[in-house]
Symmetry: C2
Subunit: 141 residues, 2 copies
Amino acid sequence: MSPSMHDIEEGLASTPKFDADGLVTAVVTDATSGDVLMVAHMNEEALQKTIASGEAWYYSRSRKALWKKGETSGHAQRVIELRVDCDQDALWLKVDQKGGGACHTGRRSCFYRAVPLGKTGAVTLEFRDAEKTFDPGKVYK
Amino acid sequence: MSPSMHDIEEGLASTPKFDADGLVTAVVTDATSGDVLMVAHMNEEALQKTIASGEAWYYSRSRKALWKKGETSGHAQRVIELRVDCDQDALWLKVDQKGGGACHTGRRSCFYRAVPLGKTGAVTLEFRDAEKTFDPGKVYK
């Protein structure tokens, strides 16, 4: 029997709501700065491995594969706290980010460009905190 | 012509990568505390309205409708900063959350339960910052 909406929202049973592709959204923030580092996805196995190990595992939609963050780069994420949202289809990981950063472009966070507000029509992004903190060419061989 | 991966990641043209349903993921944090308040979705129109107005608009997958945050509850979100991630399929909104909170359950954040780490097998969630900050029965008529 499926859990009721009340059970999902107010209960203490973990009943992740995986989507049609078997995934939930994972928002990853730096436990120290609070900045959002990245948005990724987890399937059931990635979630189980993350819970068991305290290190972040994800599911890559492009590579269609389970993926331990840092397995190539060494930039692993130790999970300080893992939270689930009201309808249990999204997770929030507060992490201790190892190495130079989370983003494959060589930056601490994937969110290094801002969208200016109060405009209509074509939008030009602006770099913010966009300095590279590691050389992706060296880290991803 | 589609933009190259290099243009998407390192360029300043806004080229949001909407998924098969026409949506991007929007992570919403409290600009003051840094806490993640909610995860929602935007279609192109919601994104345009958010940029133009500086207030958060989303697209509800369950209601299949454009939705201005706070239109029923009064708990609007003024966007302090809007950022886009490397591959332009996720947005980060830092907001000034009006009213008691962002979550329809009556809490400031949708992430009011933690998943304990270091366990295997069945998981029991734990309440964190779960006190209700407003009465959803009064706010959502």
